[in-house]
């Protein structure tokens, strides 16, 4: 029995309902814990690959949880082994958000990758790094440090950490506008960007952001990993605006076009498209994104199936 099958057989299954993921804590080298969810294909399903999810930033971890869970389950049903990890200071993992730093997050993702690869020794298949929003930046940084090449699946990616940082800092301003503060009463020294520059943490929308994390994230750029063989990049731009504006219905944003050209130049095989969905990362109680799940699976489906059938795999 392969490790994957061992997990699948432990997973509680109710008839007619998809299997629940396996929930557990991974031990980090310092003994602290990271909460993980592992979605396994049913025994007998041809194994089509491994997926490591790189979650987005701050409150978007919560707003996207439902859509991500649905996608992960659909991927598992389609034959992918999907690993989700709450990074240091996020979700149910050890630490506060204030303790987090970009390199620590990358180390957590490497920990998750090592665990996933261990489970998958006998089943193989391509590795996909699935990044959502700022998670796309983590995925591209991570790809450069893994011992094996990876494909990338990016949902509504930020192309630079600086953009994500600016948007997050803007939440602070948004709070002030809503509180009715007038622009001239906002003291310059209170501005979060200046606090960070002075080495102070900032507190925004319930999150304490350390200067270290802000710095690490701001330095991150979406770019092809220079030290890995080029693979496949699936780029999905999400939102309702493309659909509501017929003139731009199939076009990607100019920023995306520019990025994609850079990946193609280095030999990456890119499939990029827009998918009409509600902006589910912006609100907690948004409805589902029914078109996104099949669009993602269809995009992955064109990937070659490297190995099939845990049942046909050589004995462990």
């Amino acid at each position: 029995m392969t490790s994957i099958e061992a997990f699948a057989s432990q997973t509680p299954v109710s008839p007619g309902r998809p299997a629940l993921p396996h929930a557990f804590f991974l031990d980090a080298p310092d003994g602290s814990q990271r909460f993980c969810l592992f979605h396994t294909p049913q025994p007998g399903t041809p194994i089509r690959g491994r997926v490591l999810f790189c979650h987005p930033f701050a409150e978007e971890i919560n707003t996207t949880r439902r859509t991500v869970a649905r996608q992960a389950r659909a991927m598992a049903e389609a034959g992918f082994a999907v690993m989700q990890i709450d990074l240091l200071g996020c979700g149910d993992s050890t630490g506060d958000f204030a303790d987090a730093a970009w390199p620590a997050w990358l180390a957590d993702l490497r920990l998750a990758h090592a665990w996933l690869s261990d489970q998958q020794r006998n089943t193989g298949g391509p590795l996909w790094l699935w990044g959502l929003r700022a998670g796309a930046l983590l995925a591209s940084d991570l790809a450069a440090t893994l011992p094996e090449p990876a494909n990338l699946l990016l949902w509504q990616p930020f192309t630079s950490g600086q953009q994500q940082l600016q948007q997050f800092l803007r939440l602070h301003s948004a709070g002030q506008w809503l509180a009715g503060d007038q622009k001239d009463t906002v003291k310059k020294l209170d501005k979060p960007a200046q606090q960070l520059a002075q080495g102070q943490p900032v507190h925004i929308a319930g999150y304490s952001l350390s200067p270290l994390l802000a710095q690490g994230m701001a330095a991150s750029k979406l770019q092809p990993p220079s030290n890995q063989a080029p693979g496949r990049l699936v780029w999905l731009e999400l939102g309702t605006q493309a659909a509501s504006n017929p003139a731009h219905s199939s076009a990607l944003s100019p920023a995306a076009d520019k990025q994609i050209a850079a990946w193609q130049q280095t030999g990456w095989q890119v499939s990029a498209k827009t998918v009409a969905t509600p902006a589910f990362w912006q609100t907690v109680d948004t409805e589902a994104a029914p078109e996104l799940t099949p669009a993602t699976l269809a995009a992955l489906a064109t990937a070659p199936t490297e190995q099939t059938g845990a049942a046909e795999a050589p004995p462990a």
Binding site: S173, A174, W177, L178, K183
Partner: protein, 86 residues
């Protein structure tokens, strides 16, 4: 499509109003009247307007008054468009 219509579409998306915003007019109050308008939604709204119109707002150009009504929001966009064209 005029500016107000586009603003309403962005507003509808950003606040996930399921088409309700399309019936708003210039006098429809926003801030204080729409429970959906929290700081995450304001951020989504501003980012959506920037993407839709290809404009950029400076944070210190903005305050609560800009989000008072559909009219004040439209005026903000028209000002930014005029600044961009100038």
């Amino acid at each position: 499509m005029n500016v107000t219509d586009s603003v309403l579409r962005v507003l509808d998306d950003a606040l996930n109003l399921q088409g309700r915003a399309l019936a708003f007019d210039l006098n429809t109050p926003l801030l204080g009247a729409l429970p959906e308008l929290d700081s995450m939604a304001v951020l989504a709204l501003i980012t959506g307007l920037e993407n839709q119109f290809g404009i950029g707002f400076q944070d210190d150009q903005l305050d609560g008054a800009a989000f008072a009504t559909v009219g004040s929001l439209t005026a903000l966009v028209e000002q930014a468009l005029a600044d961009a064209g100038a």
